[in-house]
Symmetry: C2
Subunit: 417 residues, 2 copies
């Protein structure tokens, strides 16, 4: 792919976005319906292209977990189609009047929700994200420029070509969805300079990808996803409840960003709580890496290193530290956390309040698992990612979180004096 | 100033911001009151330091306009104090419950407004901005790291020292406001890498400053201020009203971002409208640079170059172009505009609707002057700048626009299944 191709795709996306910004909800939903139909009708083609990616991936020696995320199947295609139907059922955020005021001089000021315009999404080799990102953008009136992981290129090409054909059939410019079709690593850096055409870039993936985007982008970006989440069992906690929550937050799905990585335990209850918790973890093959105090209670565990407190394992490993009260827990989280999700298990309202007020994270829980930090669980209906930064959007980002607003002001000759 | 000094100031600001995030409205208002008092009591000292800057500036041969912005006086100090009183009277945005839902599983999810944390503000040699930015940040619970123009360094140093003393007196950490005290141009670039301590950077100033920040910042930034604004006189316009609005938008205060730079005139009424408008402009010493069609009607004007359509003159100069209808006007604005403020003067509702819907600018007016794009005029009470980007905030930014939110979630043992 030549340099100019990226420039051209971004430029075309910008032009297409002007149409999409004022498309009706009906027109957008019709197009989404058509995309779902066309994906359904083209299962064979999609699976064939995906097979190519899988064979290349096996040859390259990609890990089993990687290949699992890359692989499509009829049931995965069912989920993709189900996801589109769900997006169709969501309310269209565009056109909402967020605020309406009449000023003393008679000016009527309407604050109206509008799309961001064009969104670039940079993600890993997961073909389901291609459809997910494209359709969320479409429903919210945004043109999407997609750059998926190189190992999914064949899968992404067929999916985007199906989506573009469906758009054309429903009289929506096909450039509302486009794919940067290259395996050249410099393509992403090139894309990140197209500020005149792209309004926002969202990296979806691991810490390395996000860091690269933040460091190279001239386009405003929204950081998503790195989750070094914590659970703190305070001394007044219902210890049975604590055990259930901590176990759920670590074990139910360890590979996701809202799973916990570190368990903080109040010193006063550590000797009672930790042996039971450890037994439960050991049965589920969870490796424990503890501080020196933890190791005194659980002599068979590994000793945690300083680097463990920063780690997002995304695996059946947990770091455990004994702390003195809620202040100590807060200090640890503020120092090592990634501002994603943290939970306190406690019966003490004051400790809960301090935890909720003082920690600078997107989602703070009292007596519940961190695994609920998710667009569906929050009632947003869908999710394009979980923001861990503070500007624009924080926590799960649904359709509204990928919009902006403009002011429409109606006068009858007002001038400023 | 050594490299480490910037790092240390940012680090200290971050720590101080944790206190400020949960400070009460009363405590913040008391501190603001004390700042106003201390500025009032130290007028002499302030004017003496400002005098040093003015003398240095004169020696350096800075322009009259530049020196005017740099100069303080007793009446300018009155305005600064008045500005603080106004900020005291504004509602505290922090702690507002933006949204509250109970999920089917019983989880109570509160979306609560919180400060952004630490904000770096980079601005030109205008000492009044120092106080304005610091006090807006303080009221909204944000620590401020200020980097003002080097030519105002003595003025800024005394003002920030007064502010910090006032904070200390009211038991607020003085590091909630700090100044990068250097004239080294690399200091700004250094500051823009401090992503671990600074949550958001706001450049306030000309196009060059904003471009430099956007290109060098690792911290999320909010672009403010560049205004290549347009007025379009549609063929059905009340031409007397059009003349008043266009004149006001250009002439009332040409040096500000919400003044117009280009006038677009519908061909059908151009021969009637332009001679009257030109006469009015000529009386006010406004230089007209017109397209070739305009020059046929007004033979004595300069011919506009392609570059004129991109220009933010901030002066008594206006570019004039004859267009064919609203579509043509929209195309011009979309191509050359800076997404700030545009107005259409028309009696045709359809043309008005098309203008409001299709143009991708922060503020779109029908039959009113663009000069109203301003925090006070919009009823926000104060303004830290006018955003011309689409993520986070758009148009005038008041206190709410420099906040974020977090989710506080209360459960009773919920786990995810």
């Amino acid at each position: 792919m030549r340099k100019n191709d990226i420039e051209n795709k971004c430029k075309k996306a910008k032009i297409a976005s002007e149409f999409l910004a004022t498309a009706s909800t009906q027109q957008k939903n019709d197009a989404l319906e058509e995309i779902a139909n066309q994906i359904d009708l083209n299962r064979e083609k999609i699976l064939k292209e995906n097979e190519k990616d899988l064979i290349n991936g096996q040859k390259k020696g990609l890990s089993k977990a990687f290949l699992e995320r890359l692989a499509l199947s009829n049931s995965k295609i069912d989920s993709i189609i189900e996801g589109i139907k769900q997006i169709i059922s969501l309310e269209d955020p565009i056109g909402e009047i967020i605020d309406l005021t009449t000023r003393p001089n008679g000016l009527l000021i309407k604050k109206v929700r509008v799309p961001l315009g064009t969104i670039a999404i940079i993600y890993e080799s997961r073909p389901n994200v291609t459809v997910d990102a494209a359709t969320l953008c479409l429903k919210s009136g945004n043109a999407a420029v997609l750059k998926g992981g190189s190992d999914a290129l064949n899968s992404n090409k067929i999916l985007v070509s199906i989506i573009r054909n469906a758009l054309s059939k429903k009289d929506i410019p096909k450039d509302c969805v486009s794919l940067i079709e290259t395996t050249d690593r410099n393509a992403v850096k090139e894309l990140l300079t197209k500020r005149q055409y792209i309004d926002c870039v969202i990296p979806r993936g691991g810490a390395g990808l996000i860091k690269m985007v933040v460091e190279n982008s001239l386009i405003p970006s929204i950081e998503t996803g790195v989750g070094n989440c914590h659970a703190f069992v305070e001394k007044t906690a219902d210890l049975k409840m604590a055990e259930e929550i901590v176990f759920n937050a670590k074990v139910q799905r360890p590979s996701v960003c809202n799973a916990i990585e570190t368990l903080l335990v109040d010193e006063e209850i550590s000797k009672v709580f930790l042996p039971k918790m450890a037994e439960r973890f050991q049965k589920a093959n969870v490796e424990i890496r503890g501080c020196s105090k933890t190791k005194k209670i659980l002599p068979n565990i590994k000793l945690a290193k300083e680097s463990d407190w920063y780690e997002e394992y995304l695996d059946l490993i947990i770091a455990v530290k004994i702390v003195k009260g809620v202040e100590d827990a807060i200090k640890h989280i503020q120092k090592y956390g990634s501002h994603h999700s943290e939970t306190i298990i406690t019966k003490n309202e004051e400790a809960a309040k301090k935890f909720l007020d003082s920690i600078d994270s997107a989602a703070l829980y009292v007596n519940a698992s961190t695994r609920f930090t998710d667009g569906f669980e929050f009632g947003l209906g869908a999710e394009i990612g979980i923001s861990t930064q503070k500007i624009h959007a924080r926590g799960p980002m649904g359709l509204k979180e990928i919009t902006s607003y403009k002011y429409k002001i109606i006068g009858n000759g007002q001038i400023r004096t």
